[in-house]
Symmetry: C2
Subunit: 346 residues, 2 copies
Amino acid sequence: MTIQQVATEAGVSPSTVSNLLNGRNHRMLPETRQRIERAIDKLGYRPNRAARQLRTGRNTTIGLVVPSVGNPFWGALARHLESAALAEGYHVLLCNSERDPRRERDYVDELWADGVHGVVLCSSLPSLEHVMPLVERGLQLVAFDRTSQAGDPASLVSISVDNAIGSQLATQHLTDLGHRRLAFVSGALASVNRKERYRGFTAGLEQAGIDPETSVRAPVKGDADDFGDVEASELGRAAAAELLALEEPPTGIVAINDMCALGVCRGLRDGGLEVGKDVSVVGFDDIVLADLYAPTLTTVRQPMQEMAAAAFTQLRSRLDDSGPTQGQSLLFRPELIVRESTAPPS
Amino acid sequence: MTIQQVATEAGVSPSTVSNLLNGRNHRMLPETRQRIERAIDKLGYRPNRAARQLRTGRNTTIGLVVPSVGNPFWGALARHLESAALAEGYHVLLCNSERDPRRERDYVDELWADGVHGVVLCSSLPSLEHVMPLVERGLQLVAFDRTSQAGDPASLVSISVDNAIGSQLATQHLTDLGHRRLAFVSGALASVNRKERYRGFTAGLEQAGIDPETSVRAPVKGDADDFGDVEASELGRAAAAELLALEEPPTGIVAINDMCALGVCRGLRDGGLEVGKDVSVVGFDDIVLADLYAPTLTTVRQPMQEMAAAAFTQLRSRLDDSGPTQGQSLLFRPELIVRESTAPPS
DNA sequence: AGTCACTGGTGCATCGATGCACCAGTGAAG
DNA sequence: CTTCACTGGTGCATCGATGCACCAGTGACT
C-alpha cells in the first residue's frame, strides 16, 4: 500500500494525498478530501514510516533511557510513558543503561543517530554533560526524577515529584501520630532529590516543634545513585540494625524510598520488633510492592502516570516546534498513602 | 554523514562502500577496504536506518509485546531481551498490551506496518489466531512463556521453562523436608503452562509415595491468564484463608507463581501462622521480590537471561534467513532456589 | 486590455542506501 | 583470433513520502 495507490484509487495525485495527510488541506474541496479518505480506508493504507522519516528527518519514536526496567519503579514509568505515547501514535524505544554511564551515553548517541529527536533520560549521573553535544544539535531532552540544576542546558525539561514536600508529609504523618523520636534512612545524600527529601524531613520535624538535631539520621554509606534497587533494601536493613542498637531507638522511620523502607522493615523484624506496632515506617514512591508487603507500607506516592504523561507531552510539543523551546522544571505534588506500617507509638 | 561523503573521502563509489558495509567484499582489494574503513572512522559515519529500511524493507528492530512492564517478571524479560539485542545492534520496541487482546493485536499490526519483522509475543491469549494473517505474510513470531500447541503456526518458536519439572522440584523439596500434606494454589488451570505445573506437582507427590487424591488443591476461581500480577497475590491470600479453615491444613504449599506465593504468605500470616516455620511455601519464577520478602521465598527460578537471549537468537537467525524456518519449542530447565520460606514441618 | 490575487490542485527533485546489471581490462583455453 | 571467465569495481533506478514551485482558469479591479 503506497501513497501512489491511494492517489490512483482516489483519482488525485500523490501530492494531494500527502497534503491531506499532513494537514495542508485548507483549500481542498471537501469532496476531494472525502474521496481520498475513502480510498485510504478501502485500501487500509498506512504511511511508510521509513520513507517519511527519510524525507523529513523526523519520526514518531521517542527514547526512554532508564537504569533498568527490571526495577518496578522504572517499569511503571515505562508503562505509563508508552501508554501516553501510544495515544498520540508515538512509539517508545526502551533502553536500559544498567547504571553504566558509558552505556547511557552510547544509547543517547545511537538514538540520535537513528533519527530519534526526543529522549526521556533517567540518568544515574548528576551532570548531563555527556549528552550536551547532542542537545546543542537539537536533541530534546527530558530529565526524569531529577530536578533541574545550574549548568543544565537551557532547553532541558526536568520532571520530578516535589521531594521536600513529600518527605515533609511523611514526617508530619509520624509526628501527628505522636512520634517524637524519628530517624531518616538513606544512602549518601549525593543527589539533589535526596537532599530535598532530607530537607523535607527536617522541615517536618521543625513544624512539630522537634529539634532536628535530636533526631537521628542513620549514618549509612553506599552508592548515592541507586533508587529503588535491591541494594537500597539491604542498606535499609543494615540501617535498621544500627538504629536498634541505639540507647533510645527511634519509634518512627522515614526511608528514602520504598525499597529502602522494605529493607528497614526487614531489619526491624530481624531485631524482633513489629512494624506498624512497635515502630512505624514510611517509604517513598508507592511501588506496587508497597501494597503487597506485610505489613502494607505507608508511603508517599509519586503520581507516575501524570508525570509520565507530562514527560511525553513536553517532548511532543517541542518536537512539533509548537511548544516552548525554553526548558522548565515540573514539580509534581506527592501524596501520602497511609497503610499498615504506621501507627501511634506504643 | 552520508555514504556518498564516505565514498568521496575514500575515493571510491558509494556502491563500493555499500558493498563493504553489507559483506559483499569477497573480491575487494584489501587496500580499498582499508581506505573505506578509515574514511568511515574519520567521518564517524553511521548508516541511516530509515534509508536502509526504505530500500531493503528490513530493519534491526524487534518488537516485544508484554502484558505490562510494570510487572517485575516482564520487566526482567524486557531488560534481558534488550540486552541481548543490543549486543547485536538491534533495538527493542516495547509494547504493553495491558492484557487487552485488542491492544495486543493492534500492536502487532502496527509493528508489522512499521516494518518490524520479528516480535516476541507474551500473549495473554491461549490461541494465536489473531496474529496468524501476519505470520503467513512473513512475520517471525516467538511466543514467550507459552509452550507450543496444536494449531500454532508451523513457523512459531515457543520459549518457556519446563513447568512440570519446575513444580516437581518444588514439590519434591517439600516432601524431602518431610511434608506429607501439601496443597497447590493456583487460579483456574486454563493455560497449558498452569496445567503442566499442576502435573509436576502430582508427579512429585507420587514420587514420594503420596496419593495425589489426598492432597489439597485449593479451589480458587479467577481469571486464568494472569501471571505474576497483583491479582495473583490476592488470589493467594484468599486461598491461604481457605486452606487454614480445613480440618487438617496442609503444611506445605506450592504456588503457581511468586506473586501468588507472596499472597499465600500474607494470608497465612493473617491466620497467625509463621511462614518458614509453621507452614512452608514455594513459589515459581524467582522475581526480585522473592529475595526481599520476609521471609525470603523459596522458589523455582526461570533462567530469564538465557530464555531472553534464546528468544532473540531465534528471532535473529530467522530474520537473517540464516536460520531454520521451521518452528520449534525450547524448554528451559528450571532451578530450585531454597530460601527461608521452607523448613521441615514442625 | 492588462494586472493581480486566488483557487485547487499537480510535477518533480529529493532524502540515503541498496544491489542488479554492467564495464573495461587481462590472461588462459580452444 | 575468438571466446570465455574472472577481477575489482561503478552507474543508476529504486524504495515511499514530502513539500516547494508551479500551473491553468476565473473573476475583480484599474
